[in-house]
């Protein structure tokens, strides 16, 4: 047993428990509770530096827990995401009627689930970590129980999440039942024998359905817009970044560590799903006016782009996916931060609320613009190089396999990008040249918000302009998959 590998998770869980108990123990005044969040952020930051700055790879618990470059990549990702989301939650705290400290601690617990997911190396861990994330998110989504749509979003996420869990569980049952293996590495050794076993394939399919739900891939994307819209903004951000990334890390492990042979046979399925997801997300976003819902659709589209890296079935594709996720993290969090601040007193979150933002708060206006530009995949922001890598991977695979499907997929992605420009620029247009701007009062920004916004901007630029570091990390991580 090599439990020391898990020190990060233990620390994070401890942090969650401390956060939960702190409020009971000290009975903090409401305005002081944000210090708990800052404490959490500081702890996570310290963990990011100390624990992940110098990590050791290895496996623990009979191989069910694995600490490799991929896990580390994702753990860093989740920590950064959680820190930014915590900043956002502090900003959001006045809109959460009850139990803000619980909100922080739930974020930390969700984070712990994601960390486990990053290291999960068998189906049991996969199941429990995914359930930990999902159940936490049920609560986080419906946290604003004074608002109907928050509850409604919670219920929708609950029912559909449970439905997908049922598929996942049934799938795991079938996969395990046919192969007798839960561990991914052991499964990889025997999976080739079961290539024609339909029950096994059915099980794999059901597992993929469960994971597809997490990443909001077509045809399991249907929940995303409603939940994104209804959930409290920090939850939405965490959902868009963390939960999606957790889905992807598990998807990568299942497809490329456990079932590499099956994945090869399902290239066409992945291509089709990726393409349709891109198109669906972008097309539906076109007429959308609600900003959070718009980002919901856009996150579907981005799941599609990310799936390009899965469909490419190559290390460069997976590396591109990881790289893209890294850029996506800062971009999406930046966008939600702006929404969180700007939409403070608005319930409908309509795009028109951004009108005149460039006068009300130039920093936020620039942030939102850069986020949209990055989402649209325009240089020099992170999204550009990410899409560049994804497309490269897809075309590369097309060239190697002589599979024209890959070229079609590249074209679909291209069409999607062009469509997406329309609504992303619509947002920018609303910021800079709305005809009527009713409210021109300046928006006060707290220091932490400014800080986190600047971090996001720096992240977007850094990843876009100096891709080497992240790209090398991503490549290393992707290589871990097929070891």
């Amino acid at each position: 047993m090599n439990a020391s590998l898990m020190s990060l998770e233990i620390w994070v869980i401890a942090l969650g428990v401390v956060l939960m108990l702190a409020d009971f123990g000290f009975g903090l005044a409401p305005e002081r509770r944000r210090f708990l969040a800052y404490l959490a952020i500081a702890t996570l930051g310290t963990l990011l530096i100390t624990n992940l700055g110098n990590y050791t790879t290895g496996t623990a618990f009979n191989g069910s827990f694995v600490e490799d470059t991929l896990a580390v990549f994702f753990k860093r990702f989740f920590l950064v995401a959680a820190m930014l989301v915590l900043f956002m939650s502090v900003e959001f705290s006045d809109r959460i009627a009850g139990g803000i400290t619980e909100y922080y601690s739930l974020i930390v617990f969700a984070l712990s689930g994601m960390l486990f997911a990053a290291s999960a190396n068998d189906f049991a861990m996969l199941f429990v970590s995914i359930e930990l994330i999902t159940i936490t998110f049920y609560v986080l989504t419906s946290f604003q129980r004074g608002r109907l749509i928050s509850l409604e979003a919670g219920v929708k996420y609950l029912i559909l999440g449970a439905l997908s869990s049922a598929f996942l569980v049934f799938g795991i049952a079938l996969v395990w039942g046919t192969t007798g293996q839960l561990n991914f590495n052991k499964l990889a050794l025997v999976a080739a024998q079961f290539e024609t076993n339909k029950i096994f394939l059915l099980g794999v399919l059901f597992v993929l359905v469960g994971l597809g739900f997490k990443i909001a891939a077509f045809p399991f994307q249907i929940w995303a817009p409603d939940v994104y819209q209804g959930a409290p903004t920090p939850t939405t951000a965490f959902l868009a970044v963390g939960s999606k990334a957790a889905g992807f890390v598990l998807l990568l492990r299942v497809l490329f560590t456990a079932l590499p042979d099956i994945a090869k046979h399902w290239a066409d399925l992945l291509i089709v799903i990726s393409g349709i997801t891109i198109l669906y997300g972008n097309l539906c976003a076109l007429p959308q006016r609600n900003l959070k819902r718009l980002l919901g659709y856009s996150s579907i589209a981005h799941a599609g782009y990310l799936l390009l890296g899965v469909a490419a079935l190559s290390v460069s594709g997976q590396a591109a996916l990881l790289y893209y996720l890294a850029g996506y993290l800062f971009t999406v969090v930046a966008a939600f931060l702006v929404i969180c601040v700007v939409m403070r007193h608005l319930d409908n979150e309509d795009i028109s609320a951004l009108a005149g933002l460039h006068q009300r708060s130039p920093l936020l206006a620039v942030t939102m613009t850069l986020a949209m530009v990055s989402l649209a995949g325009i240089p020099p922001m992170a999204g550009f190089f990410g899409k560049f890598l994804l497309l490269k991977a897809v075309i590369q695979q097309g060239a190697i396999n002589h599979n024209h499907g890959y070229y079609c997929l590249a074209f679909t992605a291209l069409v999607g990008v062009v469509i997406s420009l329309y609504y992303y620029f619509g947002v920018i247009r609303a910021i800079y040249w709305s005809p009527n701007t009713p409210d021109l009062s300046p928006i006060p920004l707290s220091g932490p918000v400014k800080f986190s916004v600047c971090v996001c901007i720096a992240g977007m630029f850094w990843i876009g302009l100096f891709p080497s570091v992240v790209f090398n990390l991503a490549t290393e991580a992707a290589k871990a998959l097929s070891l």
Binding site: V373, I378, P379, F384, F411, Y422, F425, I428
Partner: protein, 567 residues
């Protein structure tokens, strides 16, 4: 650091600096922008002048600089010039300076405007200077996005929004198609490098399969074609230019648009020769769509900017024709028009911008007789219009005639029809516009219009016009630089096997075979040639076979031992 880095780095640095300048320091903002572009234009002129004497690297590029960026993918920051882009960079820098000078018409949100303008200038200059496919594309995109925002925020006309979105989506589509093509090229080559010289060298030794070429070439052709408003993918152009603020139109129509053509010549032709073969015939016919069809459409325009926009689209046809002819003369001519049209388009849009700024309309029916009131602007507009219909003395003429000569041997019929477009249709809409805008009685409401009064206001127009004159009168300044490199491109594009060892050696081989030369001397040289000041120090290096011809003093008492080609 290469001078090229400074040329495109200055505007970018200035853009970053502007972010820090408070927005009410308008004069300082303007000054920074103008100064940055001025420096970069001056450096570009210096680079252009020093081109001939600059050392060449093994691939034939000068002023080279290379820094690794993402080594695992073979991406590096690599800039350099050869004959194909030296003129474009010069043109781009001058146009950028002129655009910055013309930006006085922008009155609101100046800070943002100048930032975007500088980013756009820097981006496009960088794209032209870049010898790495990734940066080539990256910097172009970087320059493209400000265009959209500028049209959206500072544009004019009731169809502004529609125009903004159309140009955004259309150009992004084109750019992305080209990106897919470039990526496919990168992937298929197997060279694992985005470095253009490396890739070229690699592909020359290991050509792509015909299948791959046939797949990639159309992607590049239509991707780049959309960026250049190749018919029938042109409709974004007139509308976009009609709605854009004039500095944006100047930079986009003048400089940015040339990116696609440059890409076709630099990448698509030499690297995908077999893919290109089949498409050239089609391209030649498509270019007629630009020349004739758009020419006719331009005849119907009622808005001056739309007319200029359409004529700019029409001019692209000649460049495509030159490319389609796939021979040295045609490609050189195409390169030449790219430069010439850059100046011309910038000049035209600057002028229409001035008129719009003063009158508030560009409806041709509302204008008239402006030559009386706007002496300077009117005269320059007249000259621009004349340059637009291919008048000798302006650079466009040289390019167009060269293209016709190049294309004639390949596509006589298309050339004939294109001639009709160049000589007749162009003349018809240009003279009609002059007749209705500059000539005729001056409506009373324009009696108080003010002409460009001081030198500063006149400078951008004069500069652009002077550039047109200089290259129109002394085309060898440019052609001597272009020709050796165009020769390489054409040789690769036609699949001719040539020893590539050293550029210099190659030029001797490909230069002018002895049997081309009629050594009959028609003129005795009464002046000591060595004493007269050489006008150019360009490609005519002494060791070339054509070294005996040196263009002499511009007092036009040029005397040289002449070689006459009678191929």
């Amino acid at each position: 650091m290469s001078i090229l880095t400074y040329i495109f780095g200055w505007p970018i640095v200035a853009a970053l600096a502007l972010v820090l300048v408070p927005r009410n320091y308008r004069v300082i903002i303007r000054a920074i922008a103008v100064l940055a572009t001025l420096i970069s234009a001056a450096l570009a002129v210096k680079m252009f002048c020093a081109y001939g004497s600059a050392p060449m690297d093994a691939d034939g590029y000068r002023f080279v600089q290379q820094i690794p960026w993402v080594e695992s993918l073979g991406i590096s920051y690599h800039v350099g010039v050869d004959g194909l882009n030296v003129g474009l960079i010069l043109m781009g820098a001058i146009v950028a300076f002129a655009a910055a000078c013309c930006s006085w018409e922008i009155k609101e949100r100046e800070k943002e405007f100048y930032i975007l303008l500088l980013v756009m200038s820097g981006g496009i200059l960088g794209a032209f200077a870049s010898l790495d496919l990734f940066f080539f594309y990256f910097l172009h995109e970087l320059a493209l996005v400000p265009t959209f925002i500028m049209i959206g925020v500072w544009g004019r006309g009731e169809r502004k929004n529609y125009a903004t979105f159309q140009i955004t989506l259309y150009l992004s589509l084109g750019a992305l198609i080209a990106l897919i093509g470039l990526l496919a090229l990168y992937v298929q080559s197997g060279a694992n490098t985005f470095d253009i010289p490396r890739l070229t060298e690699y592909i020359r030794r290991h050509p792509l399969s015909v299948h791959a070429q046939n797949l990639i070439f159309p992607l590049l052709l239509f991707g780049f074609g959309i960026l250049v408003s190749l018919w029938p993918f042109h409709s974004w152009a007139p509308l976009g230019y009609g709605s854009a603020p004039s500095p944006t139109s100047m930079l986009h129509a003048g400089v940015l648009k040339k990116f696609g053509l440059y890409g076709l010549i630099r990448i698509a032709l030499p690297l995908l020769p077999q893919g290109a073969q089949g498409w050239m015939q089609i391209l030649a016919w498509l270019c007629l769509g630009n020349i004739l069809y758009i020419g006719w459409v331009a005849m119907r325009q009622k808005d001056l900017n739309l007319l200029i926009g359409n004529s700019s689209v029409a001019h692209m046809g000649f460049i495509f024709l030159g490319i389609a002819s796939l021979n040295l003369i045609g490609v050189t001519g195409a390169e030449f028009i790219m430069v010439a049209h850059g100046f011309l388009a910038a000049l035209s849009f600057a002028l229409s911008g001035y008129i719009y700024q003063k009158t508030g309309t560009l409806q041709i029916s509302e204008l008239g007789g402006l030559c009386r009131q706007l002496r300077f602007i009117g005269t320059v507009l007249l000259m621009a219009a004349m340059a637009g219909c291919g008048l000798p003395g302006f650079a466009n003429f040289v390019g167009e005639v060269t293209v016709f000569f190049g294309a004639w041997t390949v596509f006589p019929l298309v050339t004939g029809l294109a001639l009709w477009g160049a000589l007749i249709i162009g003349a018809v809409y240009m003279t009609r516009a002059i007749r209705n805008v500059l000539h005729g009685p001056l409506p009373d409401k324009w009696a108080g219009l003010a002409d460009a009064s001081n030198l500063w206001r006149k400078l951008p127009y004069a500069l652009l016009l002077a550039s047109l004159f200089v290259f129109g009168c002394f085309p060898r300044l440019l052609t001597d630089k272009i020709t050796p490199d165009a020769e390489k491109i054409v040789a690769m594009a036609r699949g001719e096997t040539v020893a590539m060892g050293s550029t210099r050696l190659r030029r001797v081989q490909l230069g002018v075979p002895p049997n081309w030369i009629d050594t009959r001397e028609t003129k005795v040289d009464p002046i000591n040639p060595a004493a007269s000041r050489p006008l150019t120090v360009s490609g005519a290096t002494p060791e070339t076979t054509r070294g005996t011809r040196v263009l002499h003093d511009n007092s036009a008492v040029a005397l040289a031992n002449n070689t006459i080609l009678n191929q």
